[in-house]
Structures are given as structure tokens and as C-alpha cells.
Symmetry: C2
Subunit: 308 residues, 2 copies
């Protein structure tokens, strides 16, 4: 089924204990679309970039069968730029530079050809921008998923709650879930957040895996234990892209199928962190993904037979 992704397409400069990059391709929309492109046909992207955005990057997205008709190019402006430095444990980072540029006035326009998309993934953006997208859809998508971050909870919580009330799945990390709910326990946090509207909630815990709540059930998938985490940038977006891409591919919206989607999202995220930026995501094959999913199954699979 068709998938529409709204999110930033950007440039990042990243420093980790393993090295440093110049401006490289980044942005939530980019990671989500690349990850989803391995599952669903022609994911559509609504975003905005500046005149400095390189042709080769648009070409690369097209080569991955990503529909970029919805990426507006503002020739006289500059692309969103973020620069950050990770600490030794890779679990915390300092933002060095945030230049909103074109993203500061982003007014998303959903092309007519995208109007019937059945799956909508709203990457982290201002909640009013996210809502504008939902309101432009003439037919409500079968499934709307959204990401957000603590920044929006700090400065526009009411707007954020309005948008959350309109979606089916919220995909956030543990710190965000705690801040949004005011509860430390993730079980209690999940209950409060689902009372805000979404029927499903995914709580990402980084290297500690992800929890799926919904239909009075809970499911947990670990992150793959890796020898090295080279660069965590985009891992959460890649997870979301694999998750929504998998769902859109087979179209089944229920808890059982979302479990599989979580496994595929986790597998995609495990690739993302192995190289800088989108480098590893660009070069995957379905065989590599299937092998990685097998490793997840080995990691989680047990055959309890004995009775007490």
C-alpha cells in the first residue's frame, strides 16, 4: 500500500569517537524514506530543501525508488543544517549548530498524487506542521504514525496534544514518554499517553530495545547487541521507517503484525548505526535484511517446554 512520509531532508555534520564528517545527507524524512524503501513501493516524501541541496542526493533518493515530487526546492534559501558531537558512551550528545533555514517556514504541501496514501508517517516536526498535513488529506489514511521530541513538549504542549489526538500510533523514546506523561514507569506512561488518543504506542529505548503497547498487550524487541556503535544519528528515524515501511508493505494494521514491524524496524536501525549517517542504509539488499532479521529471531527465540 502507498506510504506518505513527511519529515526533514537535511545536512548534518557529525562527530563521534570514531571520526568526524563534513556536511553529509541527513534528516528524519531521509532516514525514514530510505529505510521504508526496502519494504514498500515508491514511498512519497513531503519536505523542503534549499538551493544548496545537491542534485546527487535527489538522484540517490530516486534510485531508491523514493517519490520526491513532494520535496519543495527553495532555490534562494538554505537546507536545514544540524551539527552534533557524541560523547564516548554514544548515549548522549551535544548539539553544536542548528540552522533551521528552509525548515523555519516549512509549509507542507501534499501533492494531489499523494492524496490517497493509505499510510502516513509524520517525522519529528513542529506539531502544527504535522497537523497541517493530516488536514490536507482528503481521505483519512488507514494509519497515521507520528514521532515528536521533548522540545515540542517544552514549548507547545497544547498544540502537540492536539496532533497526538489525531494519530493512530505515536513512536517516541523513553525520555519523551516520561516527559509527555509525567510518569517514570513506562507502563504507567503508556496508559496515560494512549488516553491522549493513539491506539498504539512504540517506546524506543535505544540500545535497550523497544516496547509496543496496544490492544491491552505489550511486546518487547531487543536491540541487536553490536560490537560497535559507530554513529547513532538517525537510528530512531530508521527504526520508524522500517516499522512503517513493513506495515505499509503488507497493509495489516493489528498488534500481531506490528510485532513483526518492530523486529524489522530494529533490524534496519542496527544497520544504520554501523556507519556514518545514511552510508550503510543506502547499500542494503533484501538478503542482508533477511539475515539480520534471522539474527533477531535467534536472539529472542526460545522453546520453553518443561513444566514446573
Amino acid at each position: 500500500m502507498s506510504l506518505l512520509i513527511v519529515g526533514s531532508v537535511a545536512y548534518d555534520a557529525i562527530e563521534t569517537p570514531y571520526g568526524k564528517t563534513d556536511k553529509i545527507l541527513g534528516g528524519a524524512g531521509t532516514y525514514i524514506a530510505l529505510a521504508a524503501s526496502y519494504f514498500t513501493k515508491k514511498p512519497q516524501v513531503v519536505s523542503v530543501v534549499g538551493g544548496d541541496f545537491e542534485k546527487k542526493h535527489l538522484e540517490m533518493l530516486k534510485e531508491h525508488k523514493i517519490d520526491i515530487d513532494g520535496i519543495e526546492i527553495k532555490e534562494d534559501e538554505k537546507t536545514f543544517f544540524w551539527s552534533g558531537k557524541y560523547h564516548n558512551d554514544m548515549n548522549s550528545r551535544d548539539t553544536l549548530v542548528t540552522e533551521l533555514n528552509v525548515l523555519g517556514t516549512f509549509d507542507p504541501k501534499v501533492p494531489a498524487s499523494y492524496q490517497n496514501s493509505e499510510f502516513l508517517m509524520l517525522g519529528n516536526l513542529s506539531p502544527d506542521v504535522q497537523r497541517k498535513v493530516i488536514e490536507q488529506m482528503t481521505v483519512r489514511p488507514k494509519l497515521i504514525a507520528m514521532d515528536t521530541m521533548n522540545f515540542w513538549m517544552d514549548i507547545m504542549l497544547d498544540e502537540l496534544k492536539k496532533t497526538i489526538a489525531m494519530v493512530d500510533i505515536l513512536i517516541i523514546n523513553d525520555e519523551e514518554a516520561r516527559q509527555l506523561s509525567g510518569e517514570y514507569s513506562l507502563v504507567k506512561a503508556a496508559k496515560k499517553i494512549m488516553e491522549m488518543g493513539p491506539n498504539y504506542l512504540v517506546i524506543k529505548k535505544g540500545e535497550h530495545g523497544a516496547l509496543l503497547f496496544g490492544e491491552n498487550s505489550v511486546f518487547f524487541a531487543p536491540a541487536l547487541p553490536l560490537e560497535e556503535v559507530f554513529d547513532p544519528t538517525g537510528a530512531g528515524d530508521t527504526f520508524a521507517g522500517g516499522f512503517i515501511g513493513y506495515l505499509a508493505q503488507n497493509g495489516e494494521v493489528n498488534f500481531e503484525n506490528m510485532k513483526n514491524a518492530i523486529i524489522f524496524g530494529s533490524a534496519m536501525a542496527s544497520f544504520c548505526v554501523e556507519k556514518f549517517g545514511t552510508e550503510q542504509l543506502i547499500d542494503l539488499s533484501t538478503d542482508m535484511i533477511a539475515d539480520r532479521v534471522d539474527r533477531f529471531i535467534d536472539l529472542m527465540n526460545f522453546n520453553y517446554v518443561k513444566e514446573l
Copy 2:
């Protein structure tokens, strides 16, 4: 099969955001033995207490079919005492008081009737005390498991490594694994630690679950997401007790069976944290344990069928 447990039997005073206790029963040996008692027949305990140790606590252990012949009572001395206060997130605590008392001169004596134990669990103690136990066994147990802590890495690392080289499974937490190996990545840490001797390694990650390494495989079990963690004291020891108790019950020492043991250990730990100290552990039934294990299976179970 028979199980011998060596570990502290102690008194604790605990403060958490939910309340405060006077001196209550605690100690690694106590938690391990209580948890194991639900799986294996008559676990044997080697430990030492003072004249202040209450008869009712010895009786309670006996009622749980725990063999206490190996608990030496030094009438003129006092039982090991620890007091601690947990912070609001329950993930960190301050030690307020540590009175070693009888534990300071603990010279473990394995009774003749325990000599043929097939499973040996060494709770956290000085590594030379742990080694003295191994050396007293006339027949090497089929499986020796041990716990330790960062304190011993700080003050007697060489002794510790000698003891680690003699055991089959090391059961430690993530911080301890990192300190022992000098590696941040748990995958790398596991490799280095298994080069020190053990064929299996369990890394406990508290609320983030546990990893099992061995036989060129890795398995992960989550912790049960709980509404409240009331008191984390003893959770790691309870995990170890459920783990080793389950293994000793059916006697199969291999990776597949250890996966089940990890699930049962996690289930037992999830009970432990629901009340103060050993309170919840004392009152379990096999039905309650089976229900809890079912919740773990639901949490982890998925049926991936679709092909890419």
C-alpha cells in the same frame, strides 16, 4: 539435582520512595536460596550468621525446604548488616551502613553431606572465599556459577580472575562486565570475559533485561515492564536463584535450557521488586510463577511469517 548455594545471610534496612524498613531479612544467599527453592529440592546453604539472627528466620528457610545445616551460627558475634537508600528513579542507591560483622572472617565450611552437590552457586563474596568453597568440593560440581561485584575488581582483581577461571558461568551486571573487561560494548566485553574461563556469561541489565552469551550464541530476555518497582533490593540475586534453581531442577546444562532458565530467573526477579525485601518471594506458588512466565512468553513471542 542437588544445588549448593554459598552467600551472605544478612539483615538489611532499606529506604525507597515508597517507604522504609527496620532490620529485615536479606543477603545474597537468602534471596538465591528462596528463589531456587521453588524449583529444586532442598537447596543447601553455606553461610554464617551471628547470635542476633532470629530463630523465626531460620524456621522460615526450613519451611521453604532449604537445608540450613551449612549456616554456621557464631553466638557471640553479629549478623552482616547493610543499609541503603534508593533514589527516585530506583536505578541508583546510596549505601548508608555496611557492618561486615561475621562476614568479615567468613571461613566457609562445606558439610560432608553437601560434598556431592552437582550444582554450585557462589553468591557475591570475596573471591578467595568463593575459591575456598570450590577447593573443598571433593568432586567438581557439574556446573559452577558465580556472581561478583565491582568492589572486588577494585581491590583484588588478580584473586578475582583466579576464581573466575574456575567457574562455568559468570552472572554479573552490565557495569561490572564493562569494568571487568575494560570494554564498553557488551559484545566485546562478553568475548573478553569468556576468554578468562567461563563458557557462559549472563549480563544482567536490571530493568532492561538480561543477555546470555555462550556456545557462539547470544540470547536476550527482557525484564517484565512493571507499573511499580517497589524495592529493587535482591532482584539480581533472585534472578540468579531462579536461574540456577531451574537448571538444577532439570539438570540439562546447555544453551537452549539456559534460555529457559533466564526466563524463570527474570520472572522470579519481577516478583522480588514488588514488595520490600524477601516479602513477596516468601509467599509464591507454582501457579503464580507459571502465570508470570506466561506473561514473559507473551511479551517476547512473535510469529514472523511473511517473506520480504
